[in-house]
Structure formats: C-alpha cells, structure tokens
Symmetry: C2
Subunit: 466 residues, 2 copies
C-alpha cells in the first residue's frame, strides 16, 4: 500500500498493525486493541508528567451531566446541543431531568469548582482529567481523527484575575512545546476568528498540524474564558480585602487525534514509525535461529532483553515460530524504532545488527558500544522525525497576495487580512479553504488585506481541514 493514497494507507495500517478495530457495531465507536491502547497510554503518561511538573492535580468527574447544569451557560449549550447523546431512561423509568454524555466537561466540573473555591488561597485551582468524551458526529468517521467516543485530555484552571489566567496560557504553550517534541509533531498555534471560537470562550487557540494529504488537523485547543463560565456557575472567591470576585478560567484540551497525527505524519510505505517516547516497544529483538544453535541464541537474546529492560527501555523479544523476514515486516508495520538481529555469527563476533526503522539503516555494532549506540540512535530518530516533519510543514506554507493566487494550491496558505468576517468569508468561498486564524505570537507584518486591500498588520492562515 503506497502512502500516495493517504486515506487508504491510513486505514490499512491501523487495521493491520492492530491498533484499533472499527468493526464494533456502532459506527465511530471503535475498540482499542492492546497494541493501540499501549500507545495512547504512553501518550497519557507523557501528559501526566507534564501536568505534575506544572502543579496540576488529576481528578475524575462523572460522565453524565444533567440538562439543567448543561444549560447554565447559554452560548455553550447552543454550540453543543445538536451533537450530544441524551440519556432519557434509567431502567424502565423516564428520567425527570434528561442527562447527556459529556462532550467536554466544563458543565460537569464547574458546579464543583463553585463548591471548592472559597478564598483567594484556593487559587489557582489546576485540575485535569483523562477520560472519554462523546460527540454525535454526522460526518464520515475515521479512526483516531473523527470518532464518536473520543479519548480526551482536559485541563481546567481557575485564577484570581485575567493576568494570572493569561500566564496559565503561556504555561500551556510551554507544555505543548515539550510534549510535541516528544511526539515529533510540528504545529502552529492560531487564534481562531471570533465566529469559530469554542462555545462560551472569550478566545480560542487552535493547535494545528499538517497531514500528508495537505489538509490541516486540529490536535487540541486552549481557551481563555475570562469570567464567561464563572458568572453563571458562581465560581467566586473572597480576596484579601474581603471582597467577592469571580474567578478567571482557562482550559486546555487534546485528544486521540495526537495518535492519528503521529501515524499520518511519520508513517511510510512500510507502515507506522513511532517516536521512541511513545513506542509500546522501543526495541524489538529478533533472534536468528539456526539449526543446532537455537538454544544458545535464545539464551543470548533473553540476556540481552533483560539487560535492556534493566536500563529502562521497553523491549520485546520476538520468539514466535516464524521466519525472521516475516518478523521484520511485522515490526516495521508496527513502527518499532529499533530492531536488533542476533544470530550465531553475531554472537561469535560479539556484535549485533541494529536497524533503524526511520531510515532503514543497518549497523553492525560491537557489544561493548551497544548501549551508547542505542541511546544515540533513539535520540537520533526523535530528532530526525521532528526535523523531517518540520520541513514538511514549513515548506507546506504558501504566502499569497490575492485569492486568485491561491487557486489550485494545497497545504497551508498565509495571507494578510483586515480582520473583517466578510473578507475571510470571501477567501473561504473562493478557495474552498477554511480560515484557521492568526498567529498567537503576533508578528507585525505590513501588507494589504487579501480581499478588501485595506492596509493591515495581521496575517491569517487558511487550509483544507480535517
């Protein structure tokens, strides 16, 4: 399967690598198979590390939200009520108040925040959870990218004022930078236009990456709420002077799309390439079992595995009764970063063969320098995956001066924009692209609006999107 037809390639590797099974009898609700679950759990672990480092506490809120709580923030319910699942019956009884499956947890968490926050000493409150959320998708579903039951990370914070809440968003971006480096995923942070912000937000930052088919995919988002939720949910604190003030709030969310991006961005014609930080196995050992020497080779292979485990690597010894070539094929498909081949000749020569998944390069490595070689090559894979992906995303950005210039272009388009919704809509209609937003880290850059030709310092990005 060539990667040229990205969509087919993507579905095919997910199925053959046994990450997810979409044959479950509800469309868009897929089964996490053991290998796929291991990857997303590694991603969760990385998130937990970052959350702990930045003083967030993990909690877990109920799945169901009563309609009465959901309805408290008017914009929020308007944005979501056509895409939530409703629970209307418990057993044989109709419920007095219908409940919905959380599409996100603002309206589950904030009634509790209102109870927990009393004084300025309770702030900042920084809570996160990793749970599944539910959206009644009507578009075509796609594993990890557009599903109806979504593995989801969401951090919710409450602060004494806007300044502290803005500092939180800076911290979120630092978390993103460290985290995305481990996933080797380049991204753009774009402030969504007002008409496309999250339901109830003051402003929304979208985190976008570029997929191989030239479409951008939103991996997550960061929202500044100001007091939009704290007012209806009565999240108030008493300050040092005895005055009651509304908390300022932010959220940060990312989903299993991260895994979809990793598969799409790094994969090749052989299959998946996992970054070492999230690979379920970082190293696979394939013993070359030659007649009469099987026991000796297996004993050496086990010893090597145990030594690598002892050094903290995730290692798998593939002792299946299959040809080595079939095993290579299988683990290449499944994206294991390093493969070690070990046969009787290698053992006699005190060396092993180490093959890099990303480049296919084979190295004959003396046992004495093996640890160093592994360490350097895992780091090397991380660096090189990120570098290649960065090159692709940055060469994927084309600057255009007129809508006409953009016609027939793929990837991400960058243009000057006056800020008027009307001009943005002209771009969207003219190019069949979506306006993604303006760079969060603002650069002053003089030019003229792509449509109305007014002078402006603002640039905006547009793309075909997932």
């Amino acid at each position: 399967m060539e990667k040229a037809n990205f969509s087919e390639w993507y579905n095919d590797v997910i199925e053959r690598a046994e990450l997810s099974d979409k044959r479950y009898p509800i469309k868009g609700m897929n089964v996490w198979r053991p290998y796929g679950l291991k990857v997303i759990q590694r991603i969760d672990d990385l998130i937990r590390e970052e959350m702990e480092r930045t003083g967030h506490d993990e909690a877990r809120f109920p799945l169901l939200i009563p309609k009465t709580e959901f309805a408290k923030e008017g914009e929020h319910i308007k944005g979501f009520d056509s895409e939530v699942y409703w629970v209307t019956h418990g057993g044989l009884n109709k419920l007095d108040v219908p409940m919905l499956l959380r599409p996100t947890s603002e309206t589950a968490m904030y009634p509790m925040f209102s109870l927990w926050i009393r004084s300025h000493t309770d702030l900042p409150l920084k809570i996160f959870q990793i749970v599944n959320v539910f959206r009644y998708e009507t578009k075509m579903t796609k594993s990890f990218i557009r599903v109806r039951e979504i593995h989801f990370f969401e951090a919710h914070t409450a602060h004494r004022d806007l300044e502290d809440a803005e500092a939180q968003i800076k911290e979120d971006l630092e978390i993103l930078r460290r985290f995305a480096t481990k996933l080797c995923i380049p991204y753009l942070v774009l402030k969504r236009p007002d008409w496309d912000k999250f339901a109830g937000a003051y402003y929304t930052l979208g985190i976008e990456t570029l997929m191989p088919d030239g479409k951008t995919m939103q991996l997550g988002s960061i929202h500044q709420y100001q007091t939009n939720f704290s007012v209806p949910y009565e999240i108030k604190y008493e300050d040092e002077h005895g005055e009651h003030r509304y908390a300022h709030q932010t959220t940060y969310g990312m989903s299993e799309r991260l895994l979809g991006a990793v598969i799409g961005v790094h994969g090749d014609e052989k299959g998946i390439v996992f970054p070492p930080a999230i690979a379920p196995y970082q190293i696979v050992i394939v013993p070359i079992l030659v007649k009469d020497k099987q026991e000796m080779v297996m004993a050496e292979a086990k010893q090597l595995r145990d030594k690598l485990l002892g050094r903290g690597y995730r290692v798998h010894l593939d002792d299946r009764d299959m040809r080595p070539g079939a095993k290579y094929y299988d683990w290449e498909l499944k994206g294991v970063p390093l493969r070690i081949e070990l046969g009787p000749r290698d053992i006699a020569d005190r060396k092993v063969v180490v093959v890099r998944r990303d480049t296919g390069k084979k190295a004959f490595v003396k046992r004495g320098v093996l640890w160093l070689h592994i360490q350097e090559n895992l780091k090397g894979i991380e660096r090189s995956l990120l570098k290649k992906a960065e090159e692709r995303i940055f060469t994927g950005i084309t600057e255009i001066g007129t809508i006409e210039e953009g016609k027939g272009k793929t990837g991400i388009l960058k243009m000057h924009w006056c800020g008027a919704e009307e001009c943005a809509r002209e771009v969207e209609v003219g190019l069949e692209f979506t306006i993604l937003g303006t760079p969060y880290a603002e650069q002053r850059d003089h030019g003229r609006c792509i449509h109305c030709r007014k002078k402006t310092d603002t640039v905006v990005f547009a793309a075909k999107t997932y």
Copy 2:
C-alpha cells in the same frame, strides 16, 4: 467521630480525607478527588501487574452497546434491563436503535471476540479492561460501595474447552490471593446458589469480605459461562481436525468496592489506614521548624525525601505553614502508613522519629539503620493489617445448627444445607439474612440441613449484606 457508628464514620472520613465528593448534582455519581484517584490508580496498577504476569492483554471497548447486541443472550438482558441507562437521542435525532451504557461488557466484547477468534491457535484469548460501568441503582447510594457510575475491572477469557476454562478460574483465584494480600483484605470465595448467579452464567463465585458493621460485602466475582454466550454470539474456532467448536468463556470482575473495603476494614477512630501497597504516599515527612533553624531543617528534610524517592518509596514532604500537630492529625486521617518527624535536635543526634499509623508506635531511629527500619515497618504494617482483619473475619463466623440458634446473631453464619431452594428461603426469611453460597474449595463435612434435617455434606454461609 467514633467508628462504633460505622456508616457515619465511613461517610465522614471519605469526605474529610478528600477521597470523593458526593455533592455532584447526580446522586450516586461522585467526583474522584485527586487523593482518592491516586489510591484507585494504585489499585489499578496492582491489577495490571497481575494481569500482565498471567498473560492477559489490556484493551478498551466502547461505552455504548446497541440494544440489538445486548438482547442476544436472553438471561443476560432479563437480569439487567431494569437497571441500565438508555441513550435514545443523538443530538436532536431519535436513534433508530437505542443504546445503553454498559453495566458490564459481555455484550460489547463478544461480537468482537466472534471476529477475532478463528482457530484454536487464537485460544486462549485473555482480555481485560478497566473502565467505568453504569447501573441505575434505586437503593440508597454510598461512596465506593453503591454508586451508579462504577470504576470497574473486568477480565474476559475464551478457551477451547471446559477444562481449560476451569484452569482459568483456578488462576483467577491465585491472582485474587496475591492481590488481596497487598490490600490486606481477607475474603471468602463462595459459589452462589443457582437463583443468585450472574445473569447468563453457568456458575458464579462471589468474593466476600466482612465489614465492621457485621455485614458482608461482595468485592467481585468470577463466572464460568461455559458456552452460554459463545453460542448466541457465535464465538467459534476451528480445531486441529477442522471441526468448528464453540469457545468456553469465563469472566472475572472487581470494582471500586475494593477501596470501600480497605477504608472500612482497616480504618480506626483517627481515620483511614492505607496498606503500603496502595497508599498514595507511603511516608510523610513533617519537619519541625524551630526559629532560626528552619532553613537547615528544610534542607535536611528535602535531602531525606529525595533519598527515599530514590529508593522507590512514595514520599511527601509536608512543608505547609501549619503546626506539626495539625499535620499529624491530617495525615493520620488520610492514612499514610509511616510518618517521619525531623527537628533540629534529631538532626544533631543523627536520628529521626518514625511513627506507625496502624499502631501509633513511635521509634527513635538512627539514620544509619533508617532504610532497614522503613522497609521492615512497611512490611510489618502489611502483615499486621492482614492478620487483624483475618482474625476479625474468622471470629465473625458463627456455626449454627438450627434457624432458632441464628436469631439475634451478627456477622457470618455457617450451617449445613441440603441444597434445596426452599430450605434456603426459610433461612433467609427466618433470620433476615441472605444466603451467600457454598465454599468453592469443597470440604466434605457431615451434618443435617438446618431446615429439613436431611443428611448432607454441604455447608452454606449467610449474612446481612451490602
């Protein structure tokens, strides 16, 4: 709060120790607060260790089950349809096929098992998941013990024949033994009478412990299904001779009641006592900050914390601006197994004070033998918690010869029973106790049925239950 009034004591410590918040606006759906979530995650980790050791793979199946799949096994749906939540609408549309929130996952998993299992080489299939399940409880709810959203572990296995499936149940009991030892929870494994087995099971083993109020609580269960599910779900394999056979299946489930049991069984008038294996912090360090020496003491305390962390312990240094006594009180409530007090005098004398949560015993320990002291005392706490709990459960069993004899008794009653439902019902009505079942590891023990006086070798247990 005295433990004499167990129910009040239980609710009070859970609230004050900040394990769970039951003020969420849906009754019986509670919020896992950070400290409580840490404990259940440690319990999950122990389960994962056991599952990995015994060759089970972790997967994750969707929350929602279409009614059509749920209805395939007749007994199963009869047993559950009055206690499931129904999703009837997606967005503004009525769904063609209503879906339910899993109350357990047989009917979510088995359509997939039917696709995954083709040949005898695919067996045994051993899959588990840790997810939340949902039951529309109508009885009074109680944190961790009777809730509507339940943190749940469920293992599902498929085997070539009954013999292999029975061997799985033996393995499950071994897992239980190791696992319960770490939680310091004694238990009885009782085969439920036929009228009380799991909906769809061939037989059910209940795992019971005794709570301080004299009632037993079911912590989990193990089911032998034989082919009761594999026939309706068409889980078939081709054997070595090309014949198609139905798989034999078992399941093993345990819930957050494990945490309820730990709190109830080990707690005392000061609060919770966590076994070291699941304590979020195994050791808390309380620095005694005397004027002019604060910096020196904090520096020593940090060094000690880092050394303990380096040895793999879960340690917390409590540097809050509070009196030491208030900190002792707080961490006693929260059940931390060992407390280390460290003041300027201790530092000068090269010693620390170590206090055991279970006994309250104080030891002055020289720094040179501190590691050994900690290791031995954490083990000692585990042993002693289990021993005390075992004594309580075994002295809590009373053997009775007639129903009359049982009147006014509390705890667990043991009696001979002929096996007839009628006789069991007489006991249940006469004593207002529930028949729990017969010991799984059968002992031949001659006697006469408690009601009809027929000769029998079977004993049965009864108790008031949660």
